[in-house]
Amino acid sequence: MISLRGKVALVGAADSRVGIVPDLDANELCADAILLSLADAGIDKDQVDGLITCNSMSKPMLYHAEAMAEYLQIFPRYCFAAGAGGGTTFSILHHAASAIVTGMADIIVIAMADCLSSGLSREQSLLVQSSTGHPQFEQPYGPTVPAYYALIAHAHMAKFGTLPEHFAEIAVACRAHAIQNKTAQMRDPITVEDVLNSRMIADPLHLLDCSLVSDGGAAIVMTSAERAVDFPHPPIYLLGVGEGHSHEHISQAKSLTTSAARESSKQAYAMAGLGPKDMQFAQLYDCFTPTVLLELEDLGFCKKGEGGPFISSVGIGPDGSLPVNTHGGLLSHCHPGNPGSMFALTESIWQLRHSAGKRQVSNANVGLLHAQGGIMSSHTTLILGRDAS
């Protein structure tokens, strides 16, 4: 197998405005993010020969990437839209890296945007996202998206004694990061008590255990390590990547408490030649607080079952030993659906460029990013670093 380690780099990154953006639709936000990312990379749109997008829920188009290329009047030789739920962002990065190494494209833009807040009613947003459930054997029972993740949370609590307080601490930590990020949608400080006293949505998940419903988009520019040195910003290298796909429907998962993040991270660590202890920060998919707890375990930051105590003792907030979701995550920065992890990616690029301002993690040289889609179904782990070797 060809290792992708150090072969490709991220040379441009940008977010659109996020939160509630009523004046642009999902595809306009996507175009906006692309133009901003090209400006960051210091290149013209005509230099892009690869474009990868994912469809939006609020303004879907049958051939999304092709339509976006047409909109921007770019004419790539490599162009597709992918879909793996929240895991799409990083699995696309894996594909893009392979495409660059195999010569399918030289400069690839990855862009995603959606408007779950302004483009859909609350009811539509709830319904379209819960359609991840099996149409015959799950959806009729009325599971909402929080309900699917609540099943995971209850199973973890029953097996390992994890407490609602542990989940709440994750929400508090993400909010503490968001307070330092001017672009974050939610910036008022919260406490564990605030989380536990917020409205119950699907036991044991409270309102503040749930991610936001947002508008927003982001884009990055990727090229080969050789070309990357000619761009204005220091290149951020892909050091490791791996995927694991264990099921789609939660009733078919082999385990409710251990995910395919184990498999995806094992591959990423092996490729990078690094382990959990080498990471200065981690951006972990946080559609609901329990996912972060399971990911900390499955990615090897602590032992299985010890996620709760780990969060309490080590700390994942700005002052913690392992800062997690330094931009505020889906819980407090923004969550426009499938594009959600794009913001963890652009944030990681800024952290590794050492341009993250007030929220800069000191000595950030290597970071881990993890995203999952479906209901803990499709997993991709990335390891990014400042140095190619």
Binding site: E123, L126, P140, Y141, T144, L151, A153
Partner: protein, 133 residues
Amino acid sequence: MNRIQPQVSGLSSEFFDGCNEGVLRLQHCKSCKAIQFYPRVFCKVCSGRNLDWVNASGKGNVASFTVVRKALTEGYKAPYIVALIDLKEGPRMMSNIVNCEPELVTVGVGVRVVFSAWSDTLSLPVFELSNEK
């Protein structure tokens, strides 16, 4: 507004016909004897293609559950319990737990199947607490 209706087609019609008759039917592999849910065109254990159906006991235990406080659509009346049930025969299925206070449900508790009308022509399996482990 109605609850979400499953589309009955192909292999699954045997399962849904059973529901209408008050029987929980599961697919059974004639080669390796595995019992599986949901219905597939092959046995997910041995990849055999020779499958028939067996009547399940309707007994199981709660693998996990949640109380949905904000309903999916107007067709659902919150609070309601969504659960994963480990059937005695092995397979896991999603369902609702009915006829009980949410506070009484715990992971591991015993349940038994009952059938609930989802439309004029279709019933679906749901579960209620049993006194068995």
